[in-house]
Amino acid sequence: MKRNLPIFAVLLVLLAAIALANPFFLEPAGFLAFVKRAAPLVILAAGQYFVIVSGEFDLSVGSLVTAEVVIAARLIDGNEDATWPVLVLLIGFGLLVGLVNGAVTTLLRVPSFITTLGTMLILTGAVFLWTGGAPVGALSQAFRVFGRDTLWAVLILLAVGVAAALLMRADFGRTLVATGDNERAAALSGVRVNRVRILAFVLSGLAAAVAGILLGGFAGVSAQVGQGLEFSAITAVVLGGVVLGGGRGSVVAAMAGALTLEALFTLLNLYGISGALEFTVQGVIIIAAVAAGAVRLPRIFTPRKGDARVAS
C-alpha cells in the first residue's frame, strides 16, 4: 500500500481542488455522481492494468466499447425483454475479443501493439460497415439503469475493484507480475506464461464490455462513445505508477490513476478550460510519468540476475 501513496496524494489534492470550486462535490450526491462518471474509465484501467503488468498493451478497448454499445442498441431496439440476453451476449463478446487478442499475441507471436491495433481497426471498420456510420436502434430502460442510476454504477465499480484486487493477491496475480517482470524466469519456474497473458487479455475484454454497458447506460447510443478510451485507460494506468513493459505496479494504484485522470478532466471543465485540452493533458501525463520513472532508474538500479528488462 505504501508504494501507492503518491497517486492517492495527487488524487486527494485534485479532489480538494474540485471541492473548493464546487462545494456541492462534498455532499454524498455530488461525490457519488463523480464516482459514477469515473466508473467506466476505472474499470477499463483495471482491465488495461492486467495486460500492461504482464508486459503487453491493449489498444482495442476503445473500439470494443463502441462496438458493445452499438451492438446493444441494435439488438435490444427498445425491447425491455431483450435486456438480459443481450447483456450476456455483450459480456461474451468482450471475452471473445480478449481471447482472440491474447491468442494471437501469444500463440502467433504477433506483438500485442500490432494485434490490438489490428483489432481496433477491424472493430471500427466493422461497426461502420454494420451501422453505415450512424447507430440504429435504442437501449432499453432496464439496460440503461446500470450506467444511469448512481447506486448501480457505484456498486458495479466496487465489485469490479474488489475482484481485481483479490485477483492480484491470488496466485494468478503473482504469476502475472512475474510474467511481465521476466518472462523467461517465470517460464522456468513453472508459470504457464501464454495462459497467464491470454487471461490478462480476456480480463481486459471483460472490462471493456462492462465499461461499455455502463457508458451506454450513462448517455445512450452513440457511435463515438469509445473514442480515445484506450489512451485514457493507458494514461490512467501509467499515472498510477505502473511501469510500461510490465512487472511493476498495483491494480489499486491503476484504478486510482483513472479516478485522478477523471478528477483532472472535471477540474478542467469546472475552470472552463476547453475540452480539446484533454488530449494534451493526457499526452503530457504519459510522457511525464514514464520519463519520471526512467530518469531515476539508473541511480536506484541494482542488477538482478536474469533481469532482461534493464533497457526498458
Binding site: R3, L5, P6, I7, A9, V10, V13, L14, A17, A21, N22, F24, G30, A33, G78, G132, G133, A134, P135, V136, G137, A138, R148, T150, L215, F218, A219, G220, V221, S222, Q224, V225, Q227, G241, T260, L264, T266, L267, L268, N269, L270, Y271, G272, I273, S274, G275, A276, L277, V281, V284, I285, A288, A289, A291, A292, G293, V295, R296, L297, I300
Partner: protein, 399 residues
C-alpha cells in the same frame, strides 16, 4: 522511494498547469467576463468571423415569407425564387443521374440518403443513379467528382463536404454537365441551382428567440455547440449570440460537446452543480439534446426551456416529460429536391437559381403531428417521406 516522490512532483506540476493556464478564447464563461471590445454583460463572447450581417438579416426575414409552390410538398416549395433558364440542358430520357455525397456518417445524412433513393424510385424516367460516398474526406470527394464526370451522367448532384476546398472541383464539373449543389454551398455560382433550407442563422435564431421568450429576465442560459470553425454551425451560434446579446439573459457558458452524448451530459451536470440552477439550454444541433435533458433528470431538477431538433428521441422526451421546448429543423426533405430539380433541368424547365426551401420549427402545438412512435429514435421527423413507398420500414420503422 525517491523515484515516487519525483513522480508526485511531476503530477502536481501537471495538475497546477491545468489549473492556472489561461482560458482559450473559444470557451467563454461568465467568470472570464466579456471581451473588452464589446463589453457585453451577456457572456456570449466575440462574434464569429464567419458572421455576415446581410445574410443573417436575409435569412431571418425569409422565415416569415410565404414560399411559392404546393403547400403540402415543402420540398418543392421555394422562398422568393429567382428563376433561371435551363433550355440549354434539355434532352430526352431516360436519364442517368450521378451523386457525389459528402458522407453518410450521421443519422441526419442517413435519413436524407434513404429519402433521396426513395425519390429516385418514384421516377421511371431515371434509368440509373450512380452515387459515390466521400466518407467525409475532401480529397476523396474531389476524385469522386472527377470520376463521375467520366460515367456518362446526364446531371451531377453534389453535396459538398466543405465549402472552399470543393469549389474548384465543382467549377470543373460545371463545364461538362449541369450541376446541382445542395446542403452546404460552394464559392461559385456555376451550378445551375443551389438547394438549401433557409439556413443556419434562422436555425440558431429560432432556438434563441424561444429561450428569450420563455426564460425569465436575468436567467442563466447554457449554450452547447458541437465544434468551432465549421461555417454551417458558426452561423447558428452567431445568430443566437445576437439574440442573447439583446436580451436580459446571462449566458453562463458556451461549451463544445463534439456531438458526444456522454460529454454533453457531463458538461450539463457540471454546470448544474456549479450554478445551482440553469434556466435555459440552447443547442446548435439536436443530436445530444436528450443527454442534456437527462442531466437535469438525473440531478433531480426540473428541465428548463431547451431547444433540440426534429429527431424522434428528443420529440418523445419532449412529449413524455411535457417539456418547454422547441425544435428548429434543418429538414431532411431537402434530399428529395435535387432529384426533382435534375429532372426539371433535363426537361428544360426553369428552376430557382438559389432554391430556398422552407425550414419549419416544431412547437408544442405541432409536436403531435411530427412525433411518430413507430419510427426509430434517431429518425428525423421532417423527412417528407411519409407518403413514399416503403415507409416506414425503409427508414427503420415498424408498421
Amino acid at each position: 522511494m525517491s523515484r515516487r516522490k519525483t513522480m508526485v512532483a511531476m503530477f502536481a506540476l501537471v495538475a497546477l498547469a491545468g489549473c492556472t493556464s489561461d482560458k482559450p478564447a473559444a470557451t467563454v464563461t461568465s467568470s472570464s467576463a466579456a471581451p473588452s471590445s464589446q463589453a457585453q454583460a451577456s457572456g456570449t463572447g466575440e462574434q464569429s468571423k464567419f458572421f455576415d450581417q446581410a445574410d443573417h438579416d436575409a435569412q431571418l426575414a425569409m422565415r416569415s415569407q410565404t414560399p411559392e409552390g404546393p403547400a403540402d410538398k415543402p420540398w418543392e416549395q421555394a422562398i422568393a425564387p429567382e428563376m433561371t433558364d435551363t433550355a440549354q440542358y434539355k434532352k430526352d430520357g431516360p436519364y442517368h443521374l450521378c451523386f457525389s455525397n459528402a458522407a453518410v456518417n450521421n443519422p441526419w445524412r442517413q435519413v436524407g440518403w434513404k429519402t433521396m433513393q426513395a425519390e429516385v424510385a418514384e421516377h421511371e424516367e431515371i434509368s440509373e443513379l450512380t452515387a459515390l460516398d466521400a466518407e467525409g474526406k475532401d480529397d476523396k470527394q474531389i476524385s469522386d467528382i472527377a470520376e463521375l464526370q467520366a460515367k456518362g451522367c446526364d446531371a451531377l448532384i453534389i453535396s459538398p463536404n466543405t465549402t472552399a476546398t470543393l469549389t474548384p472541383a465543382v467549377k470543373g464539373a460545371c463545364e461538362k454537365l449541369p450541376v446541382i449543389v445542395f446542403d452546404r454551398g460552394v464559392e461559385t455560382d456555376c451550378p445551375v441551382t443551389f438547394i438549401k433550407p433557409i439556413g443556419g442563422y434562422a436555425f440558431g435564431a429560432d432556438g434563441a428567440e424561444f429561450l428569450v421568450e420563455k426564460v425569465p429576465a436575468g436567467g442563466k442560459v447554457l449554450a452547447l455547440r458541437i465544434l468551432p470553425g465549421v461555417d454551417v454551425l458558426e452561423t447558428r451560434w452567431s445568430a443566437a449570440k445576437l439574440a442573447f446579446d439583446k436580451s436580459g439573459l446571462e449566458v453562463v457558458g458556451v461549451e463544445f460537446t463534439d456531438g458526444d452524448a456522454a460529454k454533453t451530459k457531463s458538461i450539463v451536470s457540471d454546470y448544474i452543480q456549479r450554478h445551482g440552477k440553469i434556466d435555459g439550454v440552447w443547442m446548435d444541433a439536436g443530436a445530444t439534446a436528450v443527454a442534456a435533458v437527462e442531466a437535469f433528470e438525473d440531478a433531480g431538477r426540473p428541465v428548463p426551456p431547451i431547444n433540440g431538433e426534429d429527431q424522434q428521441d428528443f420529440l418523445q422526451k419532449w412529449k413524455d416529460g411535457d417539456l418547454t421546448a422547441i425544435a428548429p429543423t434543418y429538414p431532411t426533405y431537402q434530399w428529395r429536391t435535387p432529384i426533382i430539380a435534375a429532372l426539371k433541368i433535363l426537361n428544360g424547365e426553369q428552376v430557382p437559381k438559389t432554391w430556398n426551401l422552407p425550414q419549419p420549427k416544431i412547437t408544442a402545438e405541432t409536436l403531435d403531428t411530427y412525433l411518430k412512435p413507430n419510427l426509430p429514435p434517431l429518425h428525423y421527423a421532417l423527412c417528407g417521406c411519409e407518403d413514399m413507398p416503403g415507409f416506414p420500414e425503409k427508414w427503420g420503422g415498424q408498421k
